[in-house]
Symmetry: C2
Subunit: 300 residues, 2 copies
Amino acid sequence: MEIISIPKIMQETSKEYLVDGKTIGLVPTMGALHEGHLSLVGRAKQENDITVVSIFVNPIQFGASEDLERYPRDIEGDTEKLRREKVDIIFMPEISSMYPEVFLTYVEVEKISERLCGAFRPGHFRGVATVVTKLLNIVKPTRAYFGQKDFQQSIIIKQLVKDLNMDVDVVVCPTVREQDGLAMSSRNAYLDRAQREAATVIYRCLKEASDLIKSGVIDRTYIKGLMQDRLLKEPAVSSVDYAGVYDPETMNELSEIKGDVLLTVALRIGDTRLIDNMLVTSSDYQIQQPNFKSLKERAI
Amino acid sequence: MEIISIPKIMQETSKEYLVDGKTIGLVPTMGALHEGHLSLVGRAKQENDITVVSIFVNPIQFGASEDLERYPRDIEGDTEKLRREKVDIIFMPEISSMYPEVFLTYVEVEKISERLCGAFRPGHFRGVATVVTKLLNIVKPTRAYFGQKDFQQSIIIKQLVKDLNMDVDVVVCPTVREQDGLAMSSRNAYLDRAQREAATVIYRCLKEASDLIKSGVIDRTYIKGLMQDRLLKEPAVSSVDYAGVYDPETMNELSEIKGDVLLTVALRIGDTRLIDNMLVTSSDYQIQQPNFKSLKERAI
């Protein structure tokens, strides 16, 4: 396993692999690796000749009041895990090599970046879009792997890759969960024992709402109310940024449950912000759709 | 010569050349080709195995009140010229394939985009940065060629390529001029005979200022005043957007003439906006610098 820290060397290394006809899979991470990351690594290894994992805690995606300083870091543990997974390259750049003193260019994805987490974390997705563009240009992967836990992020990255004609397949992999349903996240490490227990409310709430929709309860207001209620009833929850039913393409809140819907939650337990989501596809539930064709014919 | 209009086909074509170890030179243009463009093509042909010229009048770099509609187009003439130059590929995408209905991603280069033309054409450089990023991702060139006439644009593109770790060399080539000094520009076609004659004031003004500096007149206020005076005295000039002495790295107006300086002008003759510039390097002129070392020693 090679550890590369200089962007230009990473880029030249990738170029050599590509000229040799090899495919490259990239798993971009901020380190503090858990099973969720490792599932992306596993998938990348399956689908590509060369697997690169980047570890970079990207300062420009953190707001001034956010947890950049205390974000968990575990280079040794991460390196060991990736060695066991037989990853080919860890790309671990210095902040100064990613953002030299004069750094002026940002990638902005409009609209879908402005909702949900974008509304609560101004500049966050601009930071994500910019660093992902940089990482894709440096590593030149054939495929890049992201977790569904960060659903909005994955939608934004798909959009920017399409809009900027970047030559990479974006692969979104299922959220990996603890036994009690809590989505794996590096930020779970912030939780004390009682908070960790309380955090399961997120999965329970998503599951209850999802099961209700699947059973035919497609009243949007009822579902949203129920989600809010379940979360706010948990005393450890200090605030709910959002919880409800959203369009998985536009990230807009839905006015009715129809087609594919995204149940999504962001809340705080103590100072720790946690997010999770569950996609309910139209095939998961049956709705009696009015037969538009016959209605039209009748109108004629 | 191949003509390609579909971005994905262009990208796949380039990829094949790169795997074969070929270098690719890209000359991005908006068509209506003149000798300035052809000098870039010549340079690209000299330095690369494959030369691609893109022709795309990029709508998002034009303001609502600007000349997108009437911007000169001459596909047949352009194709003939490029055939004579033995260009390998013309990439000529449709607007709808570059900007499909849902298009949300923009590349912004801060600060250096905000001055000079950026101040007079809001959104212009965002449009340029975005389309250039797209073209570089589609064509995957080894080198990309731009004219010095659009000096600020070339600085912005160099910055974005560096900031986003794009794997391409940006080559800036000298401005090509008509016999009377007017910088070649597709927009010169807008000028009637009298306007065309009047437009030479730009070159004359730049040349006079440059010669003065080279002769030791390094009074910034005097030079700027002289430039403004020369331009405004020409009756055909309807307005001067800017004319003065700027820092060629930051695009800030200079408070004193020191080191490399950029003399630059943007003005209107009738409805036609014309720009030009001249770089005066520190080696072009001699300044008596105070000897700081001996001053310091004396102070001690």
